[in-house]
């Protein structure tokens, strides 16, 4: 054993120090004890409320279990096979991705337009507008869902009253009760609710565009569109990738709004995967926690793949932006 491994000086107090000392694991733990003490609550809570449920879901997905009492039968991968065989799972899968494919581009585009407008130096009341567009983001989603049921009520909702009073319709549209309109209505509400976040992302991104470049272009005679096309947009490209990927992940998690606005109906037409899982876990006559967990694991893997794509996208964007 040498002094360098024990941390003790080799040749008395007067010996010159030779580089950083290496200390043992226990000593290092003791030295950094306060770091671990302060990390402990986070680690415990993260373990309890994130890691443990994830691990438990994987285990439950291998069981036949109704959630009442103890009898749990190990069924291997049977639940996964059942989920893949269920046409309603694929229906939910399709709806989830349709929702994402429609709402992500719309949200990203509207967010950009709003940010561009609100970033204009001559726009009055900028703060008021920014607050107004961000306000739905901080409103509780479940409350938004319930209120929107009244807003889109076919008999007395303000939207339908406006349509009928203006003569555009003879009678109200059953926005949430018709399979042809329910999903699109929720998409609209979801975009309205969350576009404020995307707008903030874009506003932050716009602050990185050097104003002198834009002013130089304007001096050279470029109009607003040309400045955007040739200066602003190319500089925003790396952010477009990141913002799109963040929005994709957010738009895959729409349980609260969908449950409160439509409950997945009518007749499964708005049943995204999260509502599908909830139905099998909690609202069937006899809960099927194993089956629901299998569906949840599959959905989790799907999100993981999106996360990996996100990671690759962010790295590519950073490389493009010249950030190491």
């Amino acid at each position: 054993m040498t002094a360098s491994t024990t941390g003790a000086p080799a040749t008395g107090a007067l010996a010159p120090r030779q580089g950083p000392r290496r200390i043992g694991t226990l000593a290092r733990l003791w030295r950094d004890r306060w770091i671990y003490v302060f990390l402990l609550p986070t680690l415990v809570l993260y373990g309890l409320y994130t890691l443990w449920p994830v691990a438990a879901s994987w285990w439950y997905s291998l069981l036949q279990w109704n959630g009442f009492g103890s009898p749990q039968t190990f069924v291997g991968l049977q639940n996964y096979a059942d989920v893949f065989r269920d046409s309603l799972f694929w229906n939910s899968f399709k709806i989830t991705f349709l929702f994402m494919l429609v709402t992500v581009p719309v949200r990203v585009l509207i967010g950009l337009v709003l940010a561009m407008v609100l970033n204009h130096p001559r726009l009055p009341f900028q703060r008021i507008f920014r607050t107004a567009f961000f306000l739905p983001v901080v409103t509780t989603t479940a409350i938004v869902g319930v209120v929107m049921q009244f807003v889109f009520d076919p008999a007395s909702g303000p939207v339908n009253l406006a349509l009928v009073d203006s003569g555009l319709r003879d009678q109200g549209i059953d926005f949430l009760g018709s399979s042809s309109t329910a999903l699109w209505t929720v998409m609209g509400v979801h975009t309205w609710k969350w576009v404020g976040v995307t707008m903030i992302y874009w506003l932050a991104a716009l602050q990185t565009v050097p104003r002198d470049l834009q002013e130089a272009a304007q001096v050279d005679g470029a109009g607003t569109f040309k400045v955007f096309r040739h200066i602003t947009f190319p500089l925003l490209m790396p952010f477009l990738v990141i913002i799109t990927l963040l929005t994709i992940e957010q738009n895959l998690q729409i349980f609260d709004l969908m449950l409160t606005m439509t409950g997945g109906g009518p007749y499964y037409s708005t049943e995204v995967i999260e509502v599908y899982i909830y139905r099998w876990a909690f609202t069937t006559s006899v809960p099927q926690l194993g089956f629901a967990s299998a569906a949840a694991v599959i959905f989790g893997v799907m999100l993981l793949l999106v996360g990996l794509v996100q990671l690759a996208g962010v790295r590519a964007a950073r490389r493009r932006a010249g950030v190491v």
Binding site: F68, P71, P154, S179, Y267, Y268, V286
Partner: protein, 494 residues
């Protein structure tokens, strides 16, 4: 001595806070006598506990009756009762969690728990009533069935409500009906008459009828009941839903079901359906109807109790008619026996005290209180006539007495059936969801969808039965049952 550093102060405070938080997180049952109740005893606990009794149910309209009963119990020397009324949607989850953490209340109803009671019994959810003799003599031997209320000769629960009931009463607002020329005293009795009345109301400026289409289970109940009035030989309730009584086979594709669904969708075709029906469940729909949004609504007898509590000005204007039948002839329905309403916890250490309290629920005074609460009809229908209940409620109960008989249930014939039901996988889409699909236009082939439902239900039942010794699909077949008579305990022995 060196002064205390800021780090030391912070760390001490942090440790104190952590200790406090950990203490607060302790959800373990408190010991008896500390004010907690119903917890801490091993499964099948004994009777010597002290402290309050805990009681959970979902019967909001019965709240004042329950409180009155519990106060009387305490006055007679019993312990105080900690009473919680749950939202029916939440109670199942609460019970599920409470059982896992050994904190079941001493007495509870089973709202939101779809698992058959025999399965729960095997898991230790229940204790037998120690006052079985008192309860049996109060209610009568015929009311209590083996495999439903009694298991291995021990009484575990009993019904407080009558099986003579259905959900598809036709309720109306007299003012709106009269304005449309519909006689509130003689509500339409045939399907065509109801459609005509709804059209007339629509013409008079109010939506004709409101259906709680968002509540799939309630729409399913309506169709199951309407199908019987169109000739389907079935029983409403329990595990007999959609089963032909004579053969024991699932028969959702019977013409009577198709006709019942067509009857309901006809309101939309006629233009007399309240437009927001698709977004309304029973509670929201009832509130909109009571506010004058529509003239007619299908609802259970409890509508009267809710109207009295929440929309009292409407109570004198309530008009009620029996379930309409396809041809207008008097309805004759079979309803399965009502299971136990309240159950004693298998984790309770106050079984004797809780059993004493349960005896009060079998008394005549409690039945009278049930009648006046105007919720589901009391087990003793005669209590309604002499009560202070509203005339419309009395009329509804009188119709139940004439129109509904108690049908058979396979669990009472063979307890193994209940175990098999616990293993039966749910079938989706259910009848209620199919009805929603018909209204939303996604299900166009009604007969085909119902045939598929019958096939899937049969397959699920066969798979479940095959896992249980002693259970057979034949347990659901009852041959020729006299629909004008109650199917009693003696009939199971035949």
């Amino acid at each position: 001595m060196s002064p205390t550093s800021r780090r030391q102060v912070l760390s001490t405070l942090g440790l104190l806070a952590a200790t406090g938080a950990l203490g607060a997180c302790n959800t373990a049952p408190r010991t008896a006598g500390s004010g907690a109740s119903g917890a801490g005893a091993p499964s099948g606990g004994s009777s010597g506990g002290s402290g309050n009794l805990a009681w959970w149910d979902q019967f909001n309209p019965l709240k004042s009756l329950q409180e009155k009963t519990f106060a009387a119990f305490t006055q007679q020397g019993g312990p105080k009762v900690d009473y919680t009324v749950y939202n029916p949607n939440d109670q199942g989850k609460a019970l599920q969690l409470a059982f896992g953490s050994k904190q079941l209340p001493d007495v509870f109803s089973l709202a939101g728990v779809g698992v058959p009671v025999t399965v729960l019994l095997q898991q230790g959810w229940f204790s037998p009533l120690s006052t079985a003799d008192d309860i049996t003599s109060a209610l009568g031997e015929d009311t209590l069935l083996d495999g439903v209320h009694r298991f291995e000769d021990k009484l575990y629960s009993f019904p407080i409500f009558s099986p003579r009931q259905y959900d598809a009463l036709l309720w109306g607002n007299s003012d709106i009906l009269q304005k449309a020329g519909v006689d509130p005293e003689n509500m339409p009795s045939s399907w065509d008459d109801v459609r005509a009345a709804a059209r007339a109301i629509q013409k008079s400026g109010t939506a004709g009828i409101l259906l709680p289409l968002k509540f799939a289970e309630r729409m399913q109940a309506f169709v199951l009941q309407l199908a019987q009035t169109a000739g389907f030989n079935g029983v409403v309730g329990g595990s007999m839903d959609g089963i032909d009584l004579s053969t024991g086979e699932y028969a959702f594709d019977d013409d009577a079901f198709v006709q019942a669904i067509e009857f309901l969708t006809a309101f939309r075709t006629d233009g007399s359906l309240f437009p927001a029906s698709t977004s309304l469940d029973a509670r929201a729909g009832r509130a909109r109807w009571a506010a004058g949004a529509a003239g007619l609504v299908f609802d259970g007898p409890y509508n009267a109790g809710v109207v009295r509590n929440d929309f009292s000005s409407l109570l004198p204007k309530l008009a009620v008619g029996g379930i309409p039948t396809a041809d207008g002839s008097p309805a004759q329905l079979l309803h399965s026996p009502i299971g136990g309403t309240f159950w004693l916890s298998g984790q309770s250490d106050k079984v004797d005290q809780a059993s004493e309290l349960m005896v009060m629920l079998s008394a005549k005074e409690y039945q009278q209180g049930l009648a006046e609460a105007m919720d589901q009809p009391p087990l003793d229908l005669a209590a309604v006539a002499s009560s202070q209940a509203a005339p419309s409620y009395k009329k509804a109960i009188a119709m139940f007495d004439e129109q509904v008989r108690v049908g058979p249930t396979p669990e009472a014939r063979n307890p193994a059936v209940a175990t098999a039901l616990g293993k039966k996988a749910p079938v989706e889409p259910s009848l209620g969801t199919i009805i929603q699909g018909v209204f939303s236009g996604q299900v166009t082939d009604v007969k085909g969808a119902l045939t598929k439902l019958s096939d899937q239900s049969s397959a699920a039942r066969e798979a479940a039965v095959s896992q249980v010794d002693g259970a057979s699909v034949k347990d659901w077949a009852f041959g020729d049952v006299d629909r004008s008579q109650d199917f009693t305990a003696k009939d199971y022995a035949k």
